[in-house]
Symmetry: C2
Subunit: 233 residues, 2 copies
DNA sequence: AATAATTTGTATCATATGTTACAATAATGA
DNA sequence: TCATTATTGTAACATATGATACAAATTATT
């Protein structure tokens, strides 16, 4: 027996169902929305430029296939990769509707890639016509703002011990007074924006001061009060 | 002759016309929008709590009259003021629609104040029905994200000289190679998150190294290349 | 012009962190 | 099990910055 009878017309870009912006929209509805939104598909060969830093942001662009990267170029021409963006994520989603919004970095295709492109105006109309998309997009932008705000507060701790205390206190408790670091010291140091030996020193210092017991990545919290105090410097 | 003939029904809250969220909406339209949005007015006496840190954000709140402040309370009970919020600004506007969004700080009335309150759901419907409000709000949130992102990048400069170089290079040119600092060293140091003497030292150091000539707040840029190089550390 | 209040320039000292290097330990794979 | 690699613990030193203090210079006010 052929399955054809049970098949419905498949989505053009099924990956969009999982995108932060379109998730929760019914398939047929999504097809319809897109169709009315004047979307375009643009293809980029490996290594070609998708957008240049300081280019004005004219559209919402979502990676459909392949992979692109954001990168900065310093004076000497050296490239610094910022992040990879894979399907079904969008470029600079939280910046699109800012006044005079421009791409903060260069965007280059890591491999042959396709982007779904919807102009700002069309996308705004799309949000007006579909509450789910509006809600999704607001969630994306607000999340980004919250993330950035949190990161900013985190970096505003002066000392490494302060950052470390904050980090430890926000780790999930394994058991009574025990947490486990989820990154290597190397990764943690990078996350903190400090060097690895300095981080190790801070850990040792917390232990020497009797605030914690650190055995490999397992940490037993001894003095909660003092740890909390460190996050208030 | 009486003026009454020429008077039209005045707006209930004219201050809203200048709010980032409602600006550009015609008066009668705004009245109508508000009326359909189930808005409420809440009054707060001086010193009373408008919202507590970690309270869930249930509504958009706009200061109509008076003044409120965001403040953190540290362990010892000491209060640290974050910012004052005056009419017609909103509370935590960029956080409202984040998943599980909560107030990041306590909000307290500085003086007797009134707040316009619209529930998240009602405000979202309002945005769907009015393109100007939608556009305004998106602009507010995206601007915030851009601001935070820029601030983050700024703070990621390790050295004070790096921050200073970046700051100087982004100042508007008065004339050929000349810029003017728009803040006192005190304010600048605060903005950089460093101490005032350290900032002065950094300035002196740049001058001694021959990158700039600093006379009071007037700065003459001598070595553009070297300044730019400092922003790439 | 005289005086007061801010703002700026410096100095000294303590400390946190970066830098580099190497050994010790743990994790991984043959 | 052994060997290899990755991770962690420390050390020594240089440097940037914080903290504090005070004098000089500038700006505001009378």
């Amino acid at each position: 027996m052929k399955k054809a009878n049970f098949e419905r017309k498949s989505m053009k870009y099924p990956v969009l169902k999982n995108s932060p912006i379109f998730k929760g929209v019914r398939e047929d509805e999504l097809d319809d929305l897109l169709h009315r939104s004047n979307y375009k598909i643009r293809s980029y060969h490996e290594g070609t430029v998708v957008a240049l830093a300081d280019d004005e942001i004219a559209s919402l662009m979502i990676v459909i296939s392949g992979e692109v990267r954001g990168e900065m170029v310093d004076m000497t021409g050296k490239r610094i990769k910022i992040e990879d963006i894979r399907p079904p994520m969008a470029l600079a989603a939280a910046f699109i509707f800012g006044p005079g919004s421009r791409y903060p970095v260069n965007v280059v295709a890591n491999v042959d890639s396709e982007m779904l492109v919807i102009s700002k105006g069309d996308f705004m109309r799309l949000m007006q016509s579909n509450a789910t998309v509006l809600s999704n997009y607001l969630s994306v932008v607000c999340s980004k703002a919250m993330f950035l705000s949190g990161r900013l507060r985190f970096l505003s701790f002066r000392t490494i011990k302060g950052k470390l205390a904050h980090y430890i206190l926000n780790l999930p408790l394994k058991e009574e007074n025990r947490v486990t670091l989820d990154k290597t010291q190397e990764q943690l140091a990078d996350y903190f924006g400090v060097t690895r030996p300095s981080l190790a020193r801070a850990l040792a210092s917390l232990e020497e001061a009797g605030l914690i017991n650190a055995k490999n990545r397992n940490i037993k919290i001894i003095d909660w009060e003092a740890l909390i105090r460190l996050t208030h410097d």
